[in-house]
Symmetry: C2
Subunit: 389 residues, 2 copies
Amino acid sequence: MKSLGVVSPQSMQFREPLKLTSGASIADYTLVYETYGELNADRSNAVLILHALNASHHVAGVYLKEDGSKSVGWWDNMVGPGKPVDTDRFFVIGVNNLGSCFGSTGPMHTNPATGKPYGADFPVVTVEDWVHAQARLADALGITQFAAVMGGSLGGMQALAWSLLYPERLRHCLVIASTPKLSTQNIAFNDVARQAILTDPDFHGGDYYAHGVVPKNGLRVARMIGHITYLSDDDMADRFGRELRSGQYQFGFGIDFEIESYLRYQGDKFSEYFDANTYLLITKALDYFDPAASHGGDLSQALAAAQAQFLLVSFSTDWRFAPARSREIVQALVNNRRRVTYAEIDAPHGHDAFLLEDARYMATVRSYYDKIWRETALFAGAAESVVAA
Amino acid sequence: MKSLGVVSPQSMQFREPLKLTSGASIADYTLVYETYGELNADRSNAVLILHALNASHHVAGVYLKEDGSKSVGWWDNMVGPGKPVDTDRFFVIGVNNLGSCFGSTGPMHTNPATGKPYGADFPVVTVEDWVHAQARLADALGITQFAAVMGGSLGGMQALAWSLLYPERLRHCLVIASTPKLSTQNIAFNDVARQAILTDPDFHGGDYYAHGVVPKNGLRVARMIGHITYLSDDDMADRFGRELRSGQYQFGFGIDFEIESYLRYQGDKFSEYFDANTYLLITKALDYFDPAASHGGDLSQALAAAQAQFLLVSFSTDWRFAPARSREIVQALVNNRRRVTYAEIDAPHGHDAFLLEDARYMATVRSYYDKIWRETALFAGAAESVVAA
């Protein structure tokens, strides 16, 4: 299969303040994004890909790092030439969200009001705020309607929000391994993770940049908690079981079990590159997402605004956002007589499955994009006919 | 229903060193315990109750605290006059385990070798070590055979270990909401909790007593993580849902949701009375328990040593130690043709259900103890006949 090869991020600055759900606004901000493939003449083949907690605009292709190593996009198995989201057909955009630590304006950047890093002053942003910012980027790129908006997990929430906030600006909405709102248990795990960060003495109320430290211990624990919820119990058992690192109990608090080694490594790695304030912001965006809330909790009523066609995908062993959560969305769309395709993939890898290679999953997305492509080609043909006439 | 009323702890000192699984030994130690009811003449009506992570010897009855408030035993709904474990019939012993922070020798006590608190030097103890220490207490109390040994969760592991280490010293073994070993995910949650404590700067390598501080933040996060695993997803949803404390989002990192308030409160409370070193020790005892390990992982082979009759109880929504884990024990006992009764209680409260009032659960335990009592009475009668003859 061909590869996108080396890709480069671009950035766009927005000078008009963005009014946020909280009532606050961001005066001046930058969004970092990547594009793959070519926008066609009638601008009908654009696809927007939205990222989850710890990802970015770097959806596909590779960066060459200074040390010669490569950084591969987080959905490179999904997006590229000949891949399910085929960049020979579609013009694909990956965009980094506000509040991130990967380029778009976030807590590490200078607050124009103070001349210092935002830190704790960076406003709490919502899924809806992100979508409005993304819509402005689409405006700037001259895209009035996307062939598809797609995301997994938190990215799926954004895709769903797109279908409600800008129903005429997307023809298809792909919501993968997501949920219409977090469960109480989901919120509980997020809050424990936040508490680990907030109570780390190196957090300094969010203004740790000025102290030359980062709340690594808190962020590390937060990531370890999160990581457990991304994996399925069975997958963890298959991969690590009760295997001992040194073949016998150590009778201390170092590493006994391989799973301990794995989780601590994941926590260490994450705490070296991720920003703690970003972690807080993104988990809050997750907690707050609940489009049914303003409709008295009636999801069918909330989704009545959607006009797109939908693909929903869930994974059997995902206990973070279990298949039942996707089925709630499917049912609400069906109640509104919307066109919806739903695939429940029997996969062992828990929530993480949405990022992994799985033949049935990939085939499902590929065949859905084939359908989009046929429509787009017809649509493009029809438009050309109109122009020709 | 009558109550035990005010009860008092007793303590017993052991001067003979206890050799531990790790190879270390404890030179001189004290066990704190409580007893309820009367030991009968032939000493055949003794019941030993074993505690889980955050409990103690204070199984039933009340303590009057200095401020006039009452501290009720953790299984007071189960143990007492006329209760399922009827103290009008049985002589019930609750014992605090080594390494605890509730009275028996633990990390807060003076290490005779150094004259300072044990702290990090307190040896890692196992479920089996606890059982050996409990057996010595039984010796000292003149009990050669228990009518029953009973525990929930980690206490259930101890009961199971009793049946293997001292098969002739118990007639019945009651293993409630337990497991033959922790799953990978169970270990993962324990390790994250330990990491929260170990990386708290106030932990000081376990010797925080000398610094006049306690690693409260770490212990608080550890407890919050644990607490999520004790409750069922549905129960949490029923009790807290997505209810907001102030009716609207706060757009900050204080308390938005009631579940956050609840968990932080639980964490705060726990971190004020529980000892961090004890938390580390007890979670390790949980992780290490695996009687099948020395039998190539064959639980049936491991349980061949057991001679007791068994009652196992599990709870449908317990995702920490799910019913399937109890069924593994049941199957292994059946494979050995042991007499085993198994009840799977359909209860909404997750792992915590073993501590709560539930009519079917209580009736199950009551009827099992009725059976034990009839046997005990017959046994006592038979013994008297022998004496009379």
